[in-house]
Amino acid sequence: MNHANIADETYDLYVLGVLDAEDKEQIDAHLREGCEYCTTRLQESEKLTAAMAGIAPQVNPPDALRARVLSSVVSPTRVHRPTYWIPALIAACLALLALAVWSFSRNADARRQLAETRNQRDVLRLALAVMSRPDTKAVQFGNLENAPRGRVFVNKHGTVIFIGLGLPNLPAGKSFELWLVPALGAPQAAGVFEPDDAGRAVQIASAGPDVANRAAIAVTIEPRQGSPAPTSKPFLVVPLS
């Protein structure tokens, strides 16, 4: 089959996932040969089909959803007194804000620092909200003073909060990476994080609506920017059931 005979909409059907197996194989064969023409047409079709999201009747999301989304997205976060869960988190919020206000008046980078601190505050607020819900399940791991220990909180909406204590120091250029481990299939990356000097860290992730299919969380040591798949043996695996 000559790709010049392939109609443009055939590439659209390929990307939509509705092409007949025979036609799909013909395009796959061209792509395996590194056909630039097919690759370009495919990218054009990906653009068209992705934009088809707009054919849904447009509805304004609730105003509160924006704050919910932003507060669930975190940078690597440090917690100062995680042993005293809720009061400590509130105290940490206030301390971080006070530090930010103080810092704001002292250096030119304060605006960025304030945004980061607000982000951390939002993370802690989300953690508080999830941990206080009656449908949130808590799983404790580790019980030795000098070994990694902590809790994993999971709610029915799929929000997962990992709180770790006694985490080891990281080699230079490395971060911890959290993984959501399904019963079957590959682990899903859930963000990189670094503990504070005392080995304490919080990481929030979303397991999505199929949270019941997440069998465990795992933590590995990865390059600072994270990896799409684990590259090291997990030093921590916490079953969720």
Binding site: A7, D8, E9, D12, L13, L16, G17, V18, D20, Q43, E46, K47, L48, T49, A50, A51, M52, A53, G54, I55, A56, P57, Q58, V59, N60, P61, P62, L65, R66, R68, V69, L70, S72, V73, V74, S75, P76, A115, E116, N119, H157, G158, A189, A190, G191, A205, S206, G208, P209, D210, Q225, G226, P228
Partner: protein, 187 residues
């Protein structure tokens, strides 16, 4: 931040600048929420999916490769895959509870996504306009393929139409959309 392009945004996301996620949400939040609502027909579930989508984007921004496509294509493709995954699982578990879209209460604001520079939203508006020129059959088969991930055979069975007819509607619909976009009639 209002003039930030998608290319700038992905750089900021890779630098873990959380403000960039706010810009991204303002740009794509309505489209993906509408997509999820159209698919799952439940506002609470749609909100959960939106939250999960942006969390995925945040956690995976490091792996985004601009050589393979734009930020908008990436986000909207992830959203569609999530919507179809949810639709398929929901179809099995809750098919008896689904209600027709006509019963849903929509408050449309077609202008709210306008005016964003060099973003995938421009393509979304163009495709939406081109889609409006299709006839009802063409729209129906493309919606079933796009939102529910049904194959052409499954669509033929669902509509009780010959497979060849469904294929013809789908191809002619896509072809007409392309022609409309190319001719500038979708602006």
């Amino acid at each position: 931040m209002g003039d930030v392009t998608d290319a700038d945004l992905i750089g900021q996301l890779k630098d873990r600048e959380s403000n960039a996620l706010g810009v991204l949400y303002d740009r794509y939040g309505q489209v993906v929420y509408s997509l999820f609502l159209r698919t799952c027909r439940d506002a609470s579930t749609a909100e959960d999916l939106v939250q999960e989508l942006f969390l995925r984007v945040w956690n995976r921004a490091q792996y985004f490769d601009p050589q393979r496509g734009s930020l908008g294509v990436w986000i909207l493709s992830i959203a569609r895959n999530m919507a179809i995954d949810h639709s398929r699982s929901a179809r099995v578990r809750f098919s008896a509870r689904l209600r027709p879209m006509e019963e849903a209460e929509f408050k449309s604001d077609p202008n709210s996504a306008a005016g964003r520079p060099e973003s995938g939203i421009d393509e979304v508006r163009t495709v939406r306009a081109a889609f409006s020129y299709l006839n009802q059959k063409q729209k129906q088969v493309l919606e079933l393929a796009y939102f529910e991930g049904l194959s052409q055979s499954e669509i033929a069975r669902k509509l009780s139409e010959p497979l060849g007819t469904v294929k013809s509607w789908m191809r002619s619909g896509l072809s007409r959309m392309r022609e409309t976009i190319k001719a500038g009639g979708a602006k």
